[in-house]
């Protein structure tokens, strides 16, 4: 494929995202929805589909689904209908999945994924948000020659978020997914972890000649396990389709699997192909009728979303748009920052510390921010100690490191480690004299009038004192000790 040919084509992408709702129990029974329990321990007659068992809808799942729909600016339907999606698969115990079909929970939302150079917002339409249940899991590598079935996930509540084919590049899709993940996390409806399987993405991709409006034949790409995999898969599938079209071929509507190792998409085996699902209204569940006042209350209870938080933080704390953008990448980080900023009354220092030391330590520890051992109040106390010159900036970093290790408060760590600033003349003089003695060449040049060496010598004193020396006093004392 020539670069010119590729440039003649435009990628058209729509995404289907499955998100696990953060409920304690499953969608239609009282079993725990926890991840990682031993196989087939979170099961009951309902999720095992024993003869005679019936589903009962989890109200908390409805609340979270409505919250997600409202956070995505969707219109929530007063009446939605559960349907059966029929197909045979060993990890689908009922032989059908309870989902929503022609009357979904919510429709017609959108996400703003960025803006054009002229400031026009770039919006991706959200076709629908509907509720459904997860299937179980087939385990192929546990017993030789046999497949085991774990039904712990069977019946776990999901929402499916279907976008319009409004994205025009892999980067658009990436931006959409990151923003979607951010919003769902902020609104508290899901843990949105691709690793734990609580967020899964399928993509519909087609290629068309740039400037045309008609949609080309699309393929569905599955099996992508990270956002970067989605972007790479889209580019690969687009290239495949363009090459096909350029060579006079036609794209067939089919399911493609992303092979990350080979960096290519390949057609799914026929059993992974689309079925006739024979949807019909689920007769075991009445239509889901929502009180619209309750829906409004759920909407009011949604925590502040990233966009609003960015705007407010720029105003409240006088930080830059770029900093606000970085901080709000995660709900937890921005909440942490705000807590430190408010408690320390020093947003600037809070920003530096949270973006610097805190995020580095959190990343290194690999824990979520709400499990980070240094609480915002403790960090605010450390910032106050720096401001009041109880500890030097250098020492503060050592104090912080010990706080991360021990979880102890700042003042206690500083005292235990002897890291409070030392302003005592005798101690300072001792350190200065030692430095002059140990660095005779520099001391001589300094004495002979090379004053720019003052900084170097002060630095050495700070180092010798392990950051405890008060640098202001060292600067005062150094010239007279050099002369002595």
């Amino acid at each position: 494929m020539s670069a010119a040919a590729s440039a003649d084509y435009e990628m058209v992408v729509g995404l289907e995202v499955h998100v696990q709702l953060k409920t304690r129990t499953k969608a239609f029974c009282g079993c725990s929805a926890d991840f990682g329990a031993p196989p087939n321990t979170n099961v009951c007659p309902v999720c095992l589909a024993l003869p005679g068992a019936l589903p009962v809808l989890n109200q908390h799942a409805v609340e979270l689904a409505v919250g997600a729909a409202l956070a995505l600016d969707c219109k929530v339907n007063a009446t939605s209908v559960f349907a059966r999606k029929n197909y045979f698969y060993p990890d689908l115990p009922k032989g059908y999945q309870i989902s929503q079909y022609d009357r979904p929970l919510a429709e017609k939302g959108w996400l703003t994924i960025g803006e054009l150079d002229d400031g026009t917002p770039v919006r991706v339409g959200i076709t629908r948000v509907h509720m459904e249940e997860d299937a179980g899991k087939s385990v192929h590598d546990r017993y030789a020659g046999a497949t085991a079935i774990d039904l712990n996930r069977a019946g776990v509540p999901l929402i499916e978020i279907v976008s319009e084919p409004d994205m025009r590049s892999a980067a658009d899709a990436g931006a959409y997914l990151r923003l979607l993940k951010q919003i769902l996390s902020y609104s508290g409806v899901s843990d949105v972890s691709m690793e734990a399987g609580s967020l899964r993405v399928d993509a519909n991709v087609s290629a068309r000649i740039r400037g045309t409006t008609e949609l080309g034949t699309k393929t569905e790409v599955k099996n992508m396990n990270s956002f970067s995999a989605v972007e790479r898969a889209l580019d690969a599938e687009f290239a495949r389709q363009v090459a096909l079209l350029e060579s006079g071929g036609t794209v067939t509507q089919q399911t493609m699997l992303w092979d990350g190792a080979k960096g290519e998409t390949r057609p799914a085996r026929s059993k992974e192909e689309s079925h006739d699902y024979r949807y019909f209204p689920e007769p075991d569940l009445p239509p889901l009728v929502l009180d619209m006042e309750w829906v409004a209350r759920v909407g009011r209870a949604i925590p502040e979303l990233p966009d609003a938080r960015r705007k407010r933080m720029i105003e409240d704390y006088e930080i830059s748009a770029a900093d606000a953008e970085l901080l709000t990448a995660s709900a937890g980080m921005s909440e942490y920052f705000e807590a430190v900023a408010r408690a320390s009354l020093d947003p600037k220092a809070a920003l530096n510390w949270v973006m610097g030391e805190v995020s580095a330590a959190v990343n290194a520890a690999g824990v979520p921010i709400d499990e980070f051992p240094v609480r915002p109040a403790d960090l605010a106390e450390l910032l106050r100690m720096v401001r009041e010159e109880v500890v030097s900036h250098t020492a503060a970093k050592r104090v912080f490191a010990r706080m991360v290790e021990t979880g102890k408060p700042a003042a206690q760590v500083a005292a235990e480690e002897g890291l409070q600033k030392v302003g005592d003349d005798a101690a300072l003089v001792g350190w200065i004299d030692e430095v002059l003695l140990e660095n005779p060449a520099e001391a001589a040049r300094y004495r002979s009038g090379e004053t720019k060496l003052q900084g170097v010598l002060v630095g050495l004193v700070m180092k010798k004192s392990k950051g405890r020396a008060d640098p202001r006093k060292v600067n005062q004392l150094l010239p007279e000790r050099a002369r002595a």
């Binding site: 007659p45 003869p51 005679g52 068992a53 009962v56 809808l57 059908y96 079935i149 569940l285």
Partner: protein, 502 residues
């Protein structure tokens, strides 16, 4: 070798032929022991050959467990604790209703040996009211049939005439009651499967309003049509039985939160002022003359006791069988998908991998009628046919339900019709599936509309029972029972004070 269990005292055997209230009173007063009633039921079953080749009423019984339960009840009564409205009463349960520690096979090979680890709400309620479950009754496989000839475990025979079918699909439960083994049995209905066998066996069969009784633990056939119903010898027994099992259940989202009245209080309400609708579509030209004659006699009895009989019309009645045979198989094709050999029941291995295992298991596990309906249901739901069949059927179903609303809104209290177009037929006599489907022609509409309906014996035709059907508005079982009590009494030649003599 185990010695045969001792026979129940004659008094207990006699008690089983008396009304439920007398059985329960005797037990509560200590005049009879629950274990004696249980023994009497098993003795009667042995005497009439219920277990063997002859009647084939039960798919499973457990005398030891039932006796143990009866002894627990005796202890309870000894401690003067409330033993419930069915204290000590032996009850038989259709085999598509989940029971702990007893098989639940739905009359199918595919569930051979399956023992449910949980219990249906209706069975829990029976036990909580002191009933003793003595066995699981034979049925048409997955409740698909009108004769109990479609059981994988052989047909049940009608105790009234053993050459004939007991009706279906609750034929085993109807035979258990008609044969005098139990006073009360649970059946289930999707298109008439309680009322039709009640009619064939000369007993009372009640299908409550959809949502009145929990379906939790009833193995689903057509979920939007299925209801658990009761089979009994008398209207009063049926009223007591229904009251025990009725009421909202948090485990069934389609069960209704509507208070349950005391149906047996309708016993003395009389018929004065009651308006009985006689739908002309249920009395077609060519209706079996003996059935037409018995129905006319019943309607005459109503008139004589002060009820008004009014001819009415339910114009969409003719569509009920076609609509039923689209909706019920559609739902069944989905409900029966879970029987795939993966988790429980039959599994037939295959060389051809997973798909081969599914195919072999289901081919061997399901009988011809079930297979026929799964195919039909799969077809009417498939892409391209959904609108023409399933969706169309649902809109006609709404019209059928509207017919009932209209006629009840016009001032009619209940409708009276024949229950079945013919009396019980001989085993093997009806071979064409479509002809068999017509057995439910007068009963299926009530399931499609969700209204309550019951069948009571109104007479006989050449020694075979004839049933009359009473249909009432949604959740108006009380008025249905009132009409049934009055008719039952009138046909027995008894009168309430103030009712004029015929």
């Amino acid at each position: 070798m185990k010695s045969p269990p001792p026979r129940a005292p004659a008094s207990a055997a006699k008690l089983l032929s008396r009304p439920l209230t007398e059985c329960v009173a005797s037990v509560r007063e200590g005049a009879a022991l629950p274990s004696d009633l249980v023994s009497a039921a098993f003795d009667r079953a042995d005497d009439i050959g219920a277990g063997g080749e002859s009647l084939n009423v039960f798919l499973a019984t457990d005398r030891d467990r039932a006796t143990g339960h009866a002894q627990e009840l005796t202890a309870l009564i000894g401690r003067a604790e409330a033993p419930g409205n069915l204290a000590g009463v032996p009850v038989a349960v259709k085999d598509n209703i989940a029971t702990l520690n007893m098989p639940t096979t739905c009359g199918s090979r595919i569930l051979e040996g399956y023992v449910s680890p949980f219990e249906a709400t209706v069975v829990r309620r029976l036990r909580a009211n002191g009933a003793v479950i003595i066995g699981k009754t034979n049925m048409d496989e997955f409740a698909m049939g009108s004769s109990t000839e479609n059981s994988a475990y052989g047909p049940t025979r009608n105790p009234v005439d053993i050459r004939r079918v007991p009706g279906g699909s609750s034929g085993g439960s109807a035979a258990a009651v008609a044969g005098g083994i139990v006073r009360l049995a649970l059946g289930s209905e999707t298109g008439g499967s309680v009322r039709q066998p009640a009619s064939f066996c000369g007993i009372v069969g009640v299908k409550p309003t959809y949502g009145r009784v929990s379906r939790y633990g009833l193995v689903a056939f057509g979920s939007s049509l299925d209801q658990v119903g009761v089979l009994a010898r008398t209207v009063e027994d049926a009223a007591i039985g229904l009251e025990v099992i009725a009421g909202c259940d948090q485990f069934d989202s389609t069960s209704a939160d509507v208070p349950v009245p005391r149906y047996e209080l309708e016993k003395n309400a009389g018929l004065k002022g009651l308006v009985i609708g006689k739908p002309r579509e249920y009395f077609p030209e060519g209706l079996n003359p003996r059935i037409a004659q018995e129905c006319e006699r019943a309607l005459e009895a109503y008139r004589e006791l002060g009820a008004k009989v009014r001819e009415v019309s339910l114009p969409n009645t003719a569509y009920s069988i076609p609509v039923y045979y689209i909706v019920a198989p559609a739902e069944a094709s989905s409900n029966l998908a879970r029987f795939d050999g993966v988790r429980y029941g039959l599994r037939v291995p295959s060389e051809r991998g997973l798909t081969g295992m599914y195919e072999a298991t289901r081919a061997r596990g399901f009988g011809p009628e079930v297979t026929r309906r799964i195919l039909l249901g799969t077809y009417v739901l498939s892409a391209g046919y959904y609108d023409a069949y399933y969706k169309k059927a649902q809109s006609v179903r709404a019209l059928i339900a509207q017919d009932f609303r209209d006629v009840f809104a016009s001032g009619v209290d209940v409708l009276f019709t024949p229950t079945t177009p013919t009396p019980a037929f001989e085993l093997g006599a009806v071979k064409d599936p479509y002809e068999m489907y017509l057995s439910d022609i007068f009963t299926a509409s009530a399931n499609l509309a969700g209204v309550p309906a019951m069948s009571i014996p109104i007479g006989g035709a050449r020694g075979l029972p004839v049933g009359g059907q009473i249909i009432a508005p949604h959740f108006a079982e009380s008025v249905m029972f009132r009409a049934a009590f009055g008719l039952e009494r009138a046909l027995a030649g008894e009168l309430l004070p103030g009712e004029k003599s015929a």
